[in-house]
Subunit: 280 residues, 4 copies
């Protein structure tokens, strides 16, 4: 992968964009390996993800060439950090964390886990088996503000690209969310927008649904309303009580979150308003 170049562009739509982009790339002696584009016709936006073989002689020049020849205010990103830095936030449930730590240990995560932060120490022993620092930041006997300040202070030094809420069961304030804009990734244990909020499996049980699901999404100020990255579902039937639903749900949750992390670490997700463009 070291002699490849990844280019991400997001701009106003216009005539001839693919040709412009391809032309500039060729001018810089790069060869397009794969190109995925999308035009959001409602918002007149153009998105493209290009993988090229070869490395530009002058990345800054390529960037400048692209910016000057694309619509004003185009966002051009050339070779964003290859290995993203992650901080994982947890409470007591292990399934998502364990899945991520195992992938990290065997080097299939394509990201570097810098730390795990929990509001309990439940998962400390397990985390430390994998030589990852674990910080216990309890929310007890603290105001929300104090708790979140301590949380931010713990996270900040690691300068993470993404903060993964791997079943972190505290609702974060708008102030905290603003501090880590577009970096907070959550796994919600339902098929959003169904069963927003607490106890989704209890809600699902009461409603008598025949399918449950999980959703990985960016965190925004509105609870469970951020841009969705990945969703999956599983058929169930009347014989599932709440504990059965929770058990079945955990399998989906960990698969969905790990897949979302995979997409993010490969820079396959682009944001447009409250939606995502995902180039799988």
């Amino acid at each position: 992968m070291n002699n490849q170049t990844l280019i991400l562009i997001q701009c106003q739509d216009a005539v001839g964009l693919v040709a412009s982009v391809a032309h500039i790339i060729a001018k810089h002696h790069l060869n397009i390996v794969t190109m995925r584009e999308f035009v959001d016709e409602e918002n007149h936006k153009f998105f493209v993800r290009v993988v090229c073989s070869g490395v530009p002689a002058a990345t800054a020049l390529l960037q400048q060439d692209l910016e000057e020849n694309l619509p004003a205010r185009a966002q051009v990103s050339i070779n964003p950090a290859r290995e993203k830095k992650l901080v994982i936030l947890v409470t007591k449930e292990h399934h998502c964390l364990a899945d991520i730590l195992v992938r990290h240990f065997f080097k299939t995560l394509n990201a570097s886990i810098k730390a795990v932060v929990g509001n309990y120490d439940t998962l400390q022993e397990f985390t430390e088996k994998f030589d990852i620092p674990y910080h216990c930041v309890s929310h007890e006997n603290k105001s929300k503000e104090e708790f979140e300040q301590e949380l931010a202070d713990t996270i900040m030094p690691y300068q993470p690209d993404y903060i993964v809420l791997a079943k972190f069961m505290r609702i974060l304030s708008p102030a905290f969310v603003a501090k880590f804009e577009n970096k907070l990734i959550n796994i919600h244990h339902s098929f959003l927008p169904a069963f927003i909020g607490a106890n989704p499996y209890r809600q699902a049980y009461k409603r008598g649904v025949k399918i449950i699901g999980a959703t990985a999404h960016y965190v925004t100020n509105d609870l469970d309303e951020g841009p969705i990255i990945v969703q999956r579902t599983k058929s169930i039937n009347h014989s599932y009580d709440v504990p059965n639903l929770v058990t079945a749900g955990k399998e989906i949750e960990k698969a969905v979150l790990s897949h979302a992390i995979h997409l993010l670490t490969e820079d396959r997700v682009m944001l447009q308003g409250n939606k995502t463009i995902v180039f799988e």
Copy 2:
């Protein structure tokens, strides 16, 4: 199937119910082929569906024996109508209706379609190809009351076991629903409880979900809140605009509705409050 007996029981849970039921069935010289039971522990309810080989010498006696030996107010149904009578309600969309009519024509529906009733005449020509009576009951220039009275008057003479709303796009009043209690089956074009109400695909598009679905359910007074029978989903991505979602959704809708009809016509669905027990 003619020398088989189907027994459905629903009652308060109690110790020894399976043994009692099996004992009484054996006493009447029937042999159990399959037996599916479920205990709703929250509501202390017992449900069982038994298929026996053989026909009871005296069905009334078997019924009496079961009722006397099961908890008070047990609902016992022996050989409910083998071939259900259906009336189908439609508006303009053909996909669900066509799927049902084709199954009916080739005798794989296990039910008898008595009539199709539409509030437009759009689907009349198609319906009549299959020699099924089509009634056009327009809602135009009528009060809701008048329209529903005419609808009921059209349906009533057919004495249907189920009235299938195969993309019938009018909201029915509580009075109408009460008239056909537990007989109205609807296909809703979303994965309920997500996107209740109008334009679910538009809602799904705006929310940026990565999965769409459909739900077949009993109709109750609360819009899209009745007991769910079948649900299915399909993965989508950012490239689906609203018309694409509608097209993809129709495939799910017709499959879900046909499967729900199949379950109902084989008496595999039992109601408990706002939920269903489905013995697949």
Copy 3:
């Protein structure tokens, strides 16, 4: 769609192909709406499907420009027939045929069904409901050669783009297949390459599989060995006997075949050796 241009290219891979293609398209004043490409690295082949807005002033010139500037022997196709002509071959089973005829009737098939040809008359009445000519070409009391000659003579006048074997249960000779190269599409009632040949559901039952499937594929000389277009599967369990498997399988078969037809009629399938590139 009338002011769009579809361009399909298949050629040896080379440096700068996307740029070349995009440049030529821009030169002819077309704007790229979507572009999907694929490089088969094993065979050094490049495939691209481009949808442009606008119509070229001179299609022949655009074709020439592309051919001259792409690697030798590039296959360039501009605006292949928008509405494909289909002939459907059947035996006695109705489910795939009915699904296709209904879509055709309601104009959602994006293709024109010219005729249905069956080796029995079982499906004649149904076909004729939709005003499609039905030809009964019996195989009885004929040599394979005679039968296939009559079949070919019946099909040929319609000049179909594709001949869809919608549960046509006769094995076709290499000579017949050669006559309609890359035009014969079959639905096989198993998840190929499992259960090649006759009675796949019986084979699946005996093997005790927990999933069944169906495969839509091009027909080549080797039985059930042609390039695969679409496959789907469904979970089953020990309680399915052979008739249950057949019934469940039919639902998959019709969905898979209809989806394959949809892909073909939108020119989303390209052939490379014994495999397909499918730009969904």
Copy 4:
């Protein structure tokens, strides 16, 4: 669960078996919580799995009562070992092992892992993080006989209920298989019976399939031909090269194997010839 009784019965089919079983259970003052039965009509066999609340005063007497009142040679098992003992066999791939060890560590496996045995030491460090003994039994410089003898000698002292081949890449001899009859569980990295044998992903790539899968099955003398317990599939497309297929496949493999172990540890799998009855 401690005051529940699990009863598994497998016998020739006969009239009145459910009634007999239910009657005897009631006589011993147990209450049926769930009862799942299956009649294999082809082989005239009856299978039932009953969960009762309560514990029999005399288990031996209950066993005797059942055996005496059921067809000759009925296999009756009352409360088989609640927590199965497992030995895991591995080679170099970690994904299935890790999934199992994590579940074990967090006590969601419902089984006790006694040891991991590998023919390389690749997974030793990881295994030992979880305080599970790891035995490296190399196959190098040994005859197959010697290797398998050493393997058996390593496994035997643990008296496992099941030996799980979690991507163990050596083919076992009939002699070895005979030694552990009905105890060897394998995960095969394809959707059996497609792609039996080596390099299934390479085979799948060459065939151009649109779906891949994995199969958990009992090991018998015929390679990849044993009774199937669980299968799952995943859609893929032309863009997957062999390494992509392997990566995608691993996610299915670990999910399938863990689900099979779950079913086995809850005594939900019964064997009938080369097939399984699975009471999910």
